[in-house]
Amino acid sequence: MTTIVTDNCKGCRYTDCVTVCPVACFHYDDEMLYIDPDVCIDCSACIPECPVQAIYEEDDLPEDKQEWLEINAEKAPELPVIEEKMEPLPGADERKAALGF
């Protein structure tokens, strides 16, 4: 079991999720965030914080988003950790509206 960030995060990068992570396992690049499955303790704290419902427990991961399991595991360890809230990416609000949230 792990917890996974999916493509809804792409292009908006609201970072509400990182403020409640008890173990600092979020990593980031220019586009979005990723969770390091070796560090994440599956506490689910981040899931309700995400305004665009980008984060899933593995058990709930939809069929068409399965690839994100591997993407998180591969990317996270190579990227810097994010522990504090950052400014969302430009255009985040439009993206959020476009996703229907």
Binding site: V20, P22, I41, A45, E57, E84, F101
Partner: protein
Amino acid sequence: MSQLGTEAAPLRVAVVGAGPSGFYATEALLKSEIAAQVDLIERLPSPYGLVRSGVAPDHPKLKQSIEVYKKVAALEGFRFFGNVTVGKDVMPQELRDIYHAVIYTCGAETDRRLGIEGEDLAGSHTATEFVGWYNGHPDYRNREFDFSHETAVIIGQGNVAADVARILSKSVDELKHTDISQHALDALAESQIKTIAVVGRRGPAQAKFTTKELREFLELENCQAAIASEELALNEASQTEVADKKAGVVAAKNMAIFEKMAEDAEQSKVRTCRMMFCRSPIRIEGNGRIERVVLERNELSGEPFSQRASGTGETETLECGLLFRSIGYRGVPIEGVPFHDSWGVFPNQEGRITDGPDGAVVPGIYTAGWIKRGPSGIIGTNRACAVQTVESLMGDLSNLPADRAGTDALAKLLQERGVRSIDFPEWQRIDAEEVSRGEPKGKPREKFTRREEMLQILG
């Protein structure tokens, strides 16, 4: 005088309570731009609060947050004073005289009461007692629970209630390689419990379980989850709640699991865990000890997301030999610190303690975690909460008193009073001993459950 927060005059802070919020507050202070020294004061010899004594033994992954707290303890400027109770060994006013600021992170350590007849009969307990007992908390070491009856009832439908129900449901084989305390494992091995009823005031759409906790009930080796299917009928407002794409996500996922529980009619397992909704206990009866609980049926009314339960007058009786209430927690007041009695918290504005709910800010004292917000939210919620409090404190730096002696003054005062405090390296010796006691049993650790045992290790 040099400015507070420089090498010459570090900010000296006492943090009271070494649970998650205490560690996250400490981390925020020690990783801040300014020079700080933090003394983390804890009434038990062991740190980590409810991560050690609340989080269920069969959820070991969650306890890995302790690795983060160990890193905080290794930061420069950190000092641990275990086995020191604020309000008894040292008073709040004394801490204010010793430190520039004090942050209270002492949790919510007592249960809300049902306020019904028979609540204090033998066999009627709080979830806190039971959880503390199976997790080896020294305060609850000597509690006794009678598992010789067939039915146990749990009042409340949140994650703590789920933990209690799951521990009662599991076989000894499912528990014996966790860090559950040996005395609890031995007692649970004799359990005659066949039915565990988990009773909620409102309906299935309003139950506070997280989906993950609920899902575990579908996978128990020894216990069948069950629901009478008519209990899952939703009124219109509840249907609106479940259909809400944002606020109804958890409720919708939970409903799907409840449906599964209702379908799985197979009853071949030793135990049954039955979810019961829209009922409130109105009386606990028995001759000297609990024999039954009387439940009143409720109906829901009001707008979606603010529906209230009210009694219909229709009652039913559930024969049982054991009852746990798990309807919320309250903080315990500390003499000399303002307390909001009806909410059970230290009144505050963004972490600054105030003199009563609408009162003025009391300079120099702060709060974070469950005692600040009330008992909601999980481990990580306390990080955002503690960070907010430390931001408030940082904003007040120029108004804090000058000249505070800090660590040495506390150490001296404790020594004069004959209080045996425990520092972090000493705790690490106890910790190592627990781990090695667990090894031969295939457990991650066998906790010491009495203060004296812990102190003995230190010689």
